[in-house]
């Protein structure tokens, strides 16, 4: 589904991603873990198409198409979804109006007719239940006055409405208590199927008890330094990031 080859990216002249290689196939869940500053958020922003970042080298193929050539809105329309770590508030733009516009612009891109209002509303009701998002919140402005947990659940609600092929969850678990975490995880697990894929970016192993990954990668200093299965996450939890830092700093000094 997505192939990232030797991706280098910098911001304000400083190189953050130093050669990322990753392949994710349909039906898979990949977890990316790493300490602060390793480049986790940069990776998700670069994939989503945020213009602040310069891609200096490498390529990304998304379902055979050159992702890096597309503006952010086309990447979303091709089926890429980013659940933001810090979803912003947009006063004055209603949640429902925003989603309806998004759904219909994606449909237009695919040559489909806009979704009839009635169908949209019943779909929204159904998906709201999935993430236990209060109906009242849906009528407010995007994320306005939402608590941290509600904002994250709103991200998953949007994901459910847009039905992407590849969803990148950028530290969706940060700031969540156990109950909110379970709701988010349940939402993801319900949406997961053999045709879509997930990249779950997280700092802590805890989320991976609920969203069980097929592959775990450790990101350190802009590179994926180790890959494995879910056991790797448990190992990381036990030993901590210091172990990784020591191992790979030593290697880079020697190398």
């Amino acid at each position: 589904m997505i192939t990232i080859k030797n991706l280098h990216a910098s911001v304000d002249g400083k190189e953050i991603l130093k050669g990322i290689n990753l392949t994710v196939k349909a039906g898979e869940i990949h977890a990316i873990m790493g300490p602060n500053g390793s480049g986790k958020s940069t990776l998700s922003s670069v994939l989503a198409g945020k213009e602040d970042y310069d891609v200096t080298e490498g390529e990304v193929l998304f379902n055979g198409k050159n992702l890096l050539d597309m503006p952010a809105e086309d990447r979303a329309r091709e089926g890429l979804f980013l659940a933001f770590q810090y979803p912003i508030e947009i006063p004055g733009v209603s949640n429902i109006n925003f989603l309806k516009t998004a759904v219909n612009e994606i449909r237009a891109y695919k040559g489909q007719e806009p979704m009839p209002a009635k169908d949209f509303l019943s779909l929204a009701k159904e998906k709201q239940k999935l993430v236990e998002l209060d109906g009242k919140l849906a009528n407010r402005s995007v994320n306005e006055g939402f608590s941290g947990g509600e904002k994250k659940r709103n991200e998953i609600f949007q994901m459910a409405m847009l039905d992407p092929k590849l969803a990148i969850l950028d530290e969706t678990d940060s700031g969540l208590d156990i109950d909110a975490l379970k709701i988010v995880a349940n939402g993801v697990n319900t949406l997961k199927n053999k045709d879509n894929a997930f990249i779950v970016i997280t700092h802590y192993q805890r989320l991976l008890d609920y969203i069980v990954p097929d592959f775990v990668h450790i990101l350190y200093n802009g590179k994926i330094v180790k890959s494995g299965t879910k056991e790797l996450a448990l190992e990381l939890e036990a030993k901590g990031y210091d172990e990784i830092k020591k191992q790979f700093e030593k290697e880079s000094v020697e190398g």
Binding site: A76, F98, A102, Y109
Partner: protein
Amino acid sequence: MITEKSTTAQNIIDRISASADKVGYLPDTTLVKALQMLEQQGIPSNRHEDYKYCNLDAILKKEFKNLNQSFLPVQQINEFRMKDAITLVVVNGAFSAALSDKMVIRGLHLQTFSELDESAKNKIATLANVDSDAFVALNTAFCSNGFYLRVERGAAIPMPVHVIYVNTAEGEALVNTRNFIELEEGAELQLIEEQVQIGSGKIFSNFLSEKLVAKNARLQSCLFQNESGQSYSVNTNQVQMARDSYYENTTVTLNGQVVRNNHQVVLAGENGVSHLNGLFLAGGTQLVDNHTLMDHQVPHCESNELYKGIINDRSTGVFNGKIFVRKDAQKTNAYQSSKNILLSDDATINTKPQLEIYANDVKCSHGTSTGKIDENALFYLNARGIGKESAKKMLLSSFAQEVILKIESEELRDKISHLFENRI
């Protein structure tokens, strides 16, 4: 005596005297005073502090060298009619009985200036002072057959009154439009004033409205300015409020090459509440200049201003909000907010609060913010598949809605929202 300052004024006087209505509608002494003021002071240029960003002397000299006052008739105004309102039509400054609805609402009285008796004539033209501004003087000297609208004591008019001011001419023309609107004690009115231009003439509209709001009366109004790219206007609103009264105005400016609004509210009675809201959109090389004045003369009044501007291309927006709190106006609450979005590197906004406070037990605050469209909000919308143009429109519309929602008429809110979205 013609001074160098007043040549533009003299030129205008000469050209429009020839074709102006032969009969003056206001008391003679007032007319004489107005002409004198005009000849002495001339048209304000950018050396006049209040017109620093709006050099009307230069504008009139350059754009209106050949005023020929060749006005055109108007057959119908159906495209502007609202479904649920009492429609009054003013064509090139003169009230048009033919195009207006018949006045059959109880408590609502209308007379044109030509129908006024001596005592009524003396009553109008008492609020706006000819010495204060050349455009007040110009309008006083040369106004067309405007109207005096009165809402009777205790009458609550059940539908909005929609006044459509339509200007249309061939070549260059100057229109002096005037009205006097009075709400007697306890009266209530929802007023919509819409300014439009038909055809391709280059028209300078000098608009003056005096509004007298008596004790306990309530006037909710909207001034909707949607003229053409060839329209130039100075619009003066002089409002006098008695005790316990309420006055709210929302001015929406969507088009006009130069639009200068002077909105002055005098809170002359205790417990008065006044709200001035504005939304203006400028593009190309347009200039929209909103000057407001809230004059707290007595204690316990409240005033509030919210002006929002969206400036594009090489256009300029101005907001100057004066708040006077006189010595005796204790327990005044006066608030002012100016928020602006610049859409291009060459767009300019000049915003200035001007507070003169002479009382010592008051609450006054003012704030302003100016910036580009929020990049993070744009990216969030893009990242959900919403294209750049749609995303920009969504954000600008939501910015504008805060002011549009202040308009009481749903029909008008929808119309304005729709026209706004076509313009951005």
